[in-house]
Point group: none
Chain length 271, copies 2
């Protein structure tokens, strides 16, 4: 399927951010960038790439998608890569035993289109070559995306996973543009009616989770240290599903602060 | 997206035949075979492969899809490769100025499914790496398949073109199977993965909300009485959106109890 028309401009409108977590081979970063370019994606974030950055092999393997490689940003950890995002999709091949919604790439394409049309920033996470995303990384996302794949041969490389998600994103966009309705009026629901507020950024959301964790730590909530990671994951998943607004994150922080002060206040007269 | 389940059998039902016309690199034949395996395609035909056949590089690049490489057949020209087919799809990236219907991979997925269900044999043609299919080759097909791709960066390699067509074929099949065979676990979702628990009853959910309200009341959270109803409504809405499980409701009650006891505990030594 060759046939690039060099006379056309790149499509650089608002699009999902592609996040590669701990990628190992520069070649895979390059082929992922090429797949992004095929479907109008342009923003690439790398979390702790194994072989450092910049990486000459990534540039070569991108087959000309240089502008994506050159504009890629590097982040020390996943929370910092997602700080300004409103909604995050985690791609996985296998069930995770987590209480988190699982959607198809096609559903993700619809959902990304709807969210971006109303001004949200969204990111899609792709795991490392050997074993994908950790459960902790998945729990930082809002929803899981799993492609229907032959269960007897489910291994897909990073570039191909990026290709499928990019394809569904672009397909949806191409259909919408084809209908010539760039205004996209009725894209509100399902989703939040958020009068006078906006979806929380991940930085705000993670800030609340950190606050809650600190208070639960000092309250002795995590009785045994070995259960704490799993308990924290469950708490993250639970609140992630609520798709909190910025206002709600502040309310929840107010609730936590209020509850931890409660008994303090009651006792004050005694002291 | 790693996660192959080696215990499952290969899906070897009737499926479209993949035809690579004059492929140049063994690696590309191998990665195309891998993409076929991902989506339950198993029949590969090679028309005049440049470097001969068998090709060790093809086997290596197939990442374990050996059964496809080993069963591949070689044909001197395209008509002989298509002799027993009923309907043929030609993939191209650019318009050909031919009076031939052009459909999307998604439409091709539907169409292939429909034809195979009624016993037809269908094939999909993929061109050589450098310049795709000749007009003569395209004219041997019944319909053209072109994926919606960023026109400024339309170059897709063979394996990725196979991946997109295979994905649309399998997606369609998975949806049909999903209606009849609930035992296919890889086709789960959309929806929640709820291991070892169940959605909370409203009684359990309201019990948590009452508990939270009591503690917030005694903490002085609702500063002015007239704002309390609205604030409670917001809190209810926020937690309702999470569609909590019974286990999560208990966790949240544990969190509230723990937080309200926090400062009590810290003070105990002083008393």
């Amino acid at each position: 399927m060759a046939g690039t028309d060099k006379t056309r401009n790149q499509v650089l409108g608002p699009a999902p951010v592609t996040v590669l977590v701990n990628p190992q081979l520069g070649e895979n970063i390059g082929t992922a960038a090429r797949a992004m370019a095929n479907f109008g994606l342009h923003s690439l974030r790398l979390v702790d790439p194994r072989d450092g950055w910049p990486n000459e092999k990534a540039l070569t393997a991108s087959s000309g998608a240089n502008w994506i490689i050159e504009a890629a940003t590097v982040h020390p950890d996943l929370p910092s890569a997602l700080a300004d995002m409103n909604y995050v999709y985690a791609t996985t091949a296998r069930p995770r035993g987590m209480i988190k919604e699982v959607i198809t790439p096609e559903e993700a394409g619809h959902d990304m289109r709807r969210r971006i049309a109303r001004g949200e920033k969204v990111a899609v996470l792709f795991g490392r070559e050997r074993w994908g995303l950790s459960n902790d990384e998945v729990s930082l996302a809002d929803v899981i995306v799993t492609a229907p794949v032959n269960p007897a041969f489910a291994s897909i490389n990073i570039a191909q996973a990026v290709l499928l998600v990019g394809y569904e994103w672009y397909k949806e966009q191409a259909e919408t543009l084809g209908q010539q309705t760039p205004e996209l009026p009725a894209l509100e629901g399902p989703g939040l009616q958020t009068p006078d507020t906006r979806p929380a950024t991940k930085e705000e959301f993670y800030g609340f989770l950190d606050h809650l964790e600190r208070e639960l730590d000092s309250a002795g909530f995590f009785k045994t240290g070995d259960k704490k990671p799993g308990m924290l994951r469950n708490i993250r998943n639970l609140f992630a599903r609520a798709e909190l607004t910025e206002q709600e994150v502040r309310s929840l922080r107010g609730i936590v602060a209020s509850l931890t002060r409660a008994h303090e206040r009651r006792r004050e007269p005694k002291e």
